[in-house]
Amino acid sequence: MSVLSELFQLHVLLPWLLGMLFGIFVGATPGLTATMAVALIVPVSFYMPDPNTGLAMIIGVSFTAIFAGDIPATYLRIPGTPASAAATLDGHQLAKQGRGRFALLIDLFCSSIGGLVGVTLLILIAPQLARFALKFSNFEYFWLAIFGLSMSAVVSSGNTRRGLLAAAFGMLLATIGLDVVSGAQRFTFSNPELMGGLGFIPVMIGLFGVSEVIRSVLSGFKAEDSNTTNSDKGDSALHSLVAIWKHKFTVIKSSMAGTIIGALPGAGADIAAWAAYGLEQRTSKKGANFGKGEVAGVVAPTSANNAAVSGAWIPALVFGIPGDAVTAIVLGALMMYEIKPGPLIFEQNPEQINAIFLIALITQLLLIPCGYLGLKTFGWLLKLPRSMIMVAVLVFSVVGSFSLRNSIFDVYVMAIFGLVGYFLEAKRVPLAPLILGLILGPMVEENFRTGLIKSEGSLLPFLNRPICAFLVLLLIVAFISPLLLKRIRRKPAKLV
């Protein structure tokens, strides 16, 4: 109870709500992503008087930014975040029929319900999985990290080969600094700022914030000329709730699917949204109406994308392996708060875990008033000059990068990675595997080398332990199955 009452103190609640409103602003602005919102809020969260306030801000931003991306998706046909792309299909059609508010209210309530289902599953599954994870040693963690990295490359958008290269590049960047096993300096150039490695947050801000600004300017801030905010009929919340009740099984089904998909490393809310949309389209009796303003076409992806954010926390809390880029940044922040994710945290620090669970639950409820405010003010957001938004992002990026360690070096790191991020995305190299490589690289290396020391140089324990063998098999299946599926799909064409 004491954690619960603490969370409702003004010094916690106010920054929490401000953080959520910031998430709404960033998520609703096309071109600014949920990942960027979290990356920008993390440095600010460190200035909060206690860790729970900082965590509340970060968790609040991650959920609201995902929902807020659906607002421009519906009114402008421009997803505010990649996770909102699936909601564009039917949401915008409803907006063209003068029912944009109706669609977004459905969206808001479904996001909240999806998040609640996801957090509930997180609370039920994570502690059980943590007990199982206590059997893991260096050998199992090594393969788990490799599995996480490989999955992120396989499922990420674009080329699997480039995804793997991105993961390898991220792992290489993670070797900068002092070697954990031997203490040797690697690629530090005798610069004390590099002894602890590259600053994780400035790298994130550069990759997601600065690179996006470059991309937006280069694209000339083009926007679809389909602003439908003015033609809204103004449906009430009751109409939306009635519609959700009629699709209650879709909500539950999509939320559960979203949670499971979100738990897969690299999958993320965008894949969860598309998967839920596709599943509902194939199984619904009104499948042919999808894409024409079908309510189920809004319910499914919007329930799934917020549920996926919770799902991503499952491997993150239990194994320290983030499910997506947003959770990767949050994990980095947790470590800076000296909260080390892993199975032991459930036994050694249950108050902290309970606080995280409570914050995640309450955030789903606070999402409704914050999201409603976002819906009301979206028209005002559209009036802001795009150039001001882009310059503001750059300035916030500088503030965020500098404020962590009062270091101008971190600003230089951010600027460099802004260019690197732009270049890699222009070459269709996905950034999610790169971030996972940066986070999981030390886990891979440390567990491999420590495992080798324990096994006196033998590689056998990496293969003959049951959990290791299972993980290796999963890895092989993950790589082979897309190729097999491709062959199976080609066969009917050959028979014609």
């Binding site: 590049f169 300035v395 190299v429």
Partner: protein
């Protein structure tokens, strides 16, 4: 989900060169990595991972280079906004260099105004918007969140 089929086999010249250059840099710099000798404890050492990863990148880079699509090299480069981006990057580079000297307030005001003018705003609009932005940052970050920002040689409050 995007179609991965055709993308799997075509490479990219610049991406290939990027990864090859990274590999060469790592191989050269790795020679200066010194490890503390603890006897034969079966640890492959601090150089193993960087070198192994860079060789993976090299393999990928060579593949990208060999399988580069010549048609894409002949494509028209993106013009139009490219000049704006270069000017923006130059302004940003000058900004981060001058930031510790001029302090956050002065350098940000100059940078934000310049950038907004590059992006097509008239000078008075760019200056006004920059002042609004600076005010928001001061209230939010300096006063409310108590973030410390560079004050520069002029001893500005932020």
């Amino acid at each position: 989900m995007p179609n991965k089929g055709k993308q799997q086999n075509s490479g990219d010249l610049w991406l290939g060169l990027f990864f090859i250059c990274v590999t060469l840099a790592v191989l050269v710099l790795s020679s200066s990595i010194k490890s503390i000798g603890l006897g034969n404890n079966f640890d492959p050492g601090p150089k193993a991972f960087p070198i192994g990863l860079s060789l993976l990148l090299a393999a990928g880079g060579v593949f990208e280079f060999i399988r580069r699509n010549p048609a894409r090299l002949r494509e028209e480069p993106v013009r139009g906004e490219a000049k704006s981006v270069l000017l923006l990057l130059a302004a940003f580079a000058v900004y981060v260099i001058l930031l510790p000297w001029l302090g956050f307030a002065i350098s940000t005001l100059i940078m934000a105004t310049t950038m907004m003018m590059i992006l097509g705003n008239p000078w008075w609009s760019a200056l006004s918007l920059s002042l609004v932005l600076l005010t928001i940052i001061y209230i939010l970050f300096v006063l409310f969140f108590r973030v410390h920002l560079p004050s520069g040689v002029f001893g500005m409050p932020f």
